[in-house]
């Protein structure tokens, strides 16, 4: 096993983890501030990808299409918040779970009616080749772009949350909802805004991953569960926890899939290793979650005391 291979797989893990972070960040804020479980978050990711695929085709420019898809998805998210989700904050979790599960069904069918079950999205031609990172180690340019965008958005989010007044309110809300409520100022508008930001982050993830995966109905359903795992690991309401959790999950998943079967092959009989390797690798992140839960039930970076 060469170092280059390990490095390359780590970059792949980082790329996946950063995209997971974009999803988990919005989700964890909504949890933290509104104490609301939103299963339809994955639908916003799907919507973002469909918007992006459509707009990239319509404008003929990848960058422009993606940039337009972000506010479009944010708007859709805020509309959803105002129309439906707002009434759910005060309700019990069961209602939230059911209503947002219903939203998934609705979103899937609406997308199917509007766009059909899937769309093609192509990456910009200039980025469809490799970049020579190190001697002997070319890396796909597009994946580097994803890593760059992920890091930039994470930094932006950090500045937004740590340095601005809105960020201060958001942090206060995440760590102490009653206090945020007591502050009273435009709390409703703050919620809508946070929701819009969450949706925008979904759109970034959906648009960036669109050319790598398929833009299709139901694309948000599996990745949503991984975002939950990230939040459980990172701690509800914590952006920092979401970042650490997401990168951890991305790394563990990618590296596990890449190396575990070989690792098992070193000290287990081959027929067992080839069966157990992929099986364990596929559940590795869930085992990680179980361990974190056992050691730190509130997650690695609990936002609340």
């Amino acid at each position: 096993m060469s170092w280059i291979l390990i490095l390359e797989q780590s970059l792949n893990g980082l790329q996946f983890g950063l995209m997971l972070f974009l999803l988990a960040a919005g989700l964890t804020l909504v949890f933290g501030i509104m104490d609301m479980i939103n299963l339809a978050h994955g639908s916003l990711y799907m919507l973002g990808a469909f918007f992006a695929a459509t707009l990239v085709q319509a404008t003929g420019s990848f960058a422009l299409g993606v940039l337009l898809a972000i506010p479009a998805t944010a708007l859709a998210g805020m509309l959803l918040e105002v129309a439906v989700l707002r009434t759910l904050y005060a309700r019990d979790h069961l209602s939230q779970v059911l209503a947002t599960f219903a939203l998934i069904l609705i979103a899937n069918e609406v997308v199917r009616i509007v766009w059909g079950s899937d769309l093609q999205m192509t990456m910009p031609a200039a980025l469809s080749g490799p970049v020579q990172l190190l001697p002997g180690m070319p890396y796909p340019a597009y994946r580097l772009l994803i890593i760059g965008v992920g890091l930039a958005v994470a930094a932006l989010l950090y500045v937004l949350v740590a340095k601005t007044r809105i960020g201060m309110l958001v942090r206060a809300g995440a760590s102490n909802r009653e206090m945020a409520l007591a502050m009273g100022v435009n709390i409703q508008r703050l919620f809508t805004l946070v929701f819009g930001v969450g949706a925008a982050l979904c759109a970034v993830a959906g648009a960036m991953l669109g050319p790598l995966f398929a833009v299709q109905v139901g694309m948000g359903e599996s990745i949503l569960i991984l975002a939950f795992v990230v939040i459980v690991i990172g701690g509800i309401g914590s952006i920092r926890g979401a970042l650490v959790g997401a990168v951890l999950v991305g790394m563990v998943d990618t590296i596990g899939r890449a190396f575990l079967p070989h690792l098992f092959g070193l000290f287990l009989p081959p027929q067992f290793a080839s069966a157990a390797g992929p099986a364990i690798a596929s559940v590795l992140v869930y085992l990680l979650m179980a361990v974190v839960l056992f050691v730190r039930p509130q997650g690695l970076f609990p936002a609340r005391g």
């Binding site: 280059i4 797989q9 490799p130 890396y139």
Partner: protein
């Protein structure tokens, strides 16, 4: 409580009435295929070609008016199975057909077998059904699951590739494919990797390929998987160092359309090509393009042949579809002009036919198409027929 029960009872009664109304002098086909999701192009091509054949036939199959019930399995075995259940038991179809993917078909066709409904497979032809589990109610119209891969292995050997890396999804057809390749490949296998069926991100696998430094890379990744893989393969820069080989469907029109110029020069093996020079094929390609404004893929050719085969059998038995033995004999005779040219059924009801090497190039109008270069196998059957007890 009572009212709700009444409403339900009424619902069932309604359903029954509606279902019991059926005509006698027509042929009913249940067509289940993958019609949505990233791999939908395959099922859509089969469906379009099948319905085209029926349309060109004046809406009839073997002289009987044809009713085609279409269902989308959504790439999910359980959905495919439920549709089979409905078509066979509720709609009481005469033939079942359509499935693209072996796993979905394998989950679904026991329903047909148990109810003595013949399944005519337009694509999937897994090895177990060729050998020990061969079944009188199963006809493979296209090609045995291993065949393309055997041809590809033969080709890789002829080219003298010293080491080849193999990737296939972790399911029956995937195992069959790599088994087929290895049967005829004499070089070294660099590694043999099975990925999740339906996987779309291949970053991790590509990194492993780079580390293994093989001379050639053989992939069996149908539909959306292959499209994504080839794009990512090109993006990773591996295409400079490693020769990619695919089975025929792996670089056919459904892949060429989304991937584009990156496909140029790719070699593949197939039992059919656009440029096959026989009247049936010329008519098929022209009519297909006229109807759907796109070039047919190998899947379309298979769907078209499937309709023609059923047509010939229904005509042969003069519409007496209840005589299953007669229908079987008629199907096995395969008295129709196939777009692939000559072929015949082996005793396991899998085809014996030729396989060719193709390369992606440009046609006269500058479009990317597969061109036939050479014949790899002549009158090639499958390796499992000796295990089949059927005569």
């Amino acid at each position: 409580m009572k009212n709700r029960l009444l409403a339900l009872a009424a619902g069932f009664a309604f359903t029954m009435l509606a279902a019991s109304a059926g005509a006698a002098d027509k042929v009913k086909i249940g067509f289940v295929s993958t019609l949505s999701g990233p791999s939908a192009a395959l099922g859509v091509d089969i469906r379009d070609a099948f319905t085209l054949a029926v349309k060109l036939n004046g809406g009839k199959l073997g002289g009987l008016s044809a009713e085609i019930l279409i269902g989308d399995d959504q790439f999910k075995p359980d959905v495919g199975r439920q549709l089979a259940e409905k078509f066979v038991k509720l709609d009481k179809v005469d033939f079942l057909t359509g499935y693209v993917f072996s796993n979905i078909m394998l989950a679904s066709i026991p329903v047909a077998f148990e109810n003595k409904v013949i399944y005519v497979s337009p694509n999937a032809a897994p090895s177990p059904l060729a050998g020990k589990q061969c079944n009188p109610y199963f006809f493979a119209v296209a090609w045995p699951n291993d065949a393309y891969h055997e041809a590809a292995g033969q080709y890789a050997t002829q080219k003298g590739y010293k080491s080849t890396y193999l990737i296939a999804p972790n399911y029956q057809a995937g195992k069959d494919s790599l088994g087929g390749f290895k049967r005829f490949y004499k070089g070294k296998i660099a590694d043999e990797v099975y990925t999740q069926l339906g996987q779309l991100d291949y970053a991790a696998e590509l990194a492993q390929v780079r580390a293994a430094k093989p001379e050639a890379l053989y992939i069996f990744l149908p539909g959306g998987m292959g499209i994504n893989f080839i794009k990512q393969f090109v993006a990773s820069g591996l295409s400079k160092d490693v020769q990619l080989i695919t089975p025929g469907f792996g670089s056919d029109q459904d892949v060429i359309r989304p991937v584009g110029d990156a496909m140029l020069g790719l070699f593949d093996t197939s039992h059919w090509a656009l440029d096959f020079d026989n009247p049936a094929n010329k008519k098929f390609v022209a009519e297909f393009e006229k109807e759907y404004k796109r070039l047919p893929s190998v899947f379309a050719a298979q769907g078209y042949d499937t309709a023609l085969l059923i047509d010939s059998a229904v005509r042969e038995v003069k519409g007496k579809l209840d005589d299953k033995e007669a229908v079987r004999r008629a199907l096995k005779a395969a008295k129709f002009a196939s777009v692939r040219g000559n072929f015949k059924f082996n005793r396991n009801q899998y085809p014996i036919q030729n396989y060719v090497l193709r390369v992606v190039g440009r046609d006269a109008q500058g479009r990317l198409v597969n061109k036939t270069i050479a014949t790899v196998f002549k009158d090639h059957g499958d390796a499992y027929v000796q295990d089949c007890a059927m005569k």
